[in-house]
Amino acid sequence: MNRTVLIVGLFLATAVVGVLFLGLGKDPQRIDSPLIGRTAPSFALREAGTGDTIALEQFRGKPVVLNFWATWCAPCYEEHPILVANARRLGSQAQFVGVVFQDTEEKILKFLRDRGSAYPTVVDDAGKTAIAYGVGGVPETFFLDADGTIVAKHDGPVSTELLQANLVKAMQR
């Protein structure tokens, strides 16, 4: 009997430790997007400053870097110059689009005036676009191929290396 209890106890303890090991070994902030490999949800939103409607579909034919950000997000200040520099460097090879949510147009325009801009920034008023893309916190960046399929997603501020690696992935498809 004691031997049976020992074996069952060891089995249960191993199972619990295994589950905890698997769970604790993961970064809880990093959640793989189920949208990867799927067509990016379609949207047409108002551009900050001009009021023009910018549709995601109008950029079909080249890779798109879709960056969700906000002026109240500290890491967004860190990554903005990197995004602007890379958008300028890549020119027509890739299209960068900023999507701002939970923010005001006044603050967005001041941010862009102070820190420069090289690509359109659209306003997601009710946050519905962010919800459709499964955005939890900002910044989050999606990389779309020329067909509009999401090939990668990054949570947190981007670096030049990360942008290049994911754009290569987007261009290879």
Binding site: V8, F43, L45, T129, I131, A132, G134, G137
Partner: protein
């Protein structure tokens, strides 16, 4: 018909024959991603009034607020959660069912957004493990009790030892005045 009339008719014909200047494409109509892109058309009846309020709370209670620590969308004051709750309400008012709405959020955020894990894959452990442990515990207790019931009754060793213990006998003698 005068020459002047002929000239006017000729000018009109020439105008209609000429290709029109290319019109620029009309600007795209503003829109946000719609649930129909994920889960198709509504499969239920549109809700309104008190029923809409009640179902909004119920369905929002099944969704995790992505920017909170373990809070349901229904309970969180975060702007993201408020937006999600608003979307749940809108979808219910359009006739989307609870299953469709949960599926829509799951397709955007993954299973992380569901507060009640689905009964599939590793998730099954969450549901089955407590039951398995309970059954095993009950089985161990049952076997132990059965064994105790079947086992031979042990003689009252302690009592016998106590009777023969000379020190205890001496104490009894002292306390009881030597009476047995």
């Amino acid at each position: 018909m005068s020459t002047r009339h002929l000239a006017v008719i000729g000018a009109l014909l020439l105008t209609t024959a000429l290709p029109l200047p290319a019109q620029p494409d009309p600007p795209p109509a503003p829109h946000v991603p719609d649930a129909s892109q994920f889960v198709g058309q509504p499969a239920g009846a549109p809700l309104e009034g008190a029923a809409l309020d009640r179902r909004t709370s119920e369905v929002s209670a099944l969704l995790r607020c992505p920017v909170c620590q373990g809070l349901a969308v229904a309970d969180s004051p975060a702007e993201m959660a408020v937006n999600m709750k608003g979307q749940v309400r809108e979808l219910l008012s359009r006739g989307y069912t609870e299953e469709q709405i949960l599926s829509y959020f799951e397709q955007s955020y993954g299973q992380f957004v569901l507060l009640r894990p689905k009964f599939e894959g590793l998730n099954m452990l969450v549901w089955l493990f407590p039951v398995i442990v309970l059954i095993l515990g009950a089985a161990i207790v049952w076997v132990k009790v059965k064994k105790l019931e079947k086992g031979p009754a042990r003689p009252p060793v302690q009592a016998a030892v106590a009777e023969e213990d000379p020190y205890l006998a001496r104490v009894r003698d002292l306390v009881g005045g030597g009476k047995p």
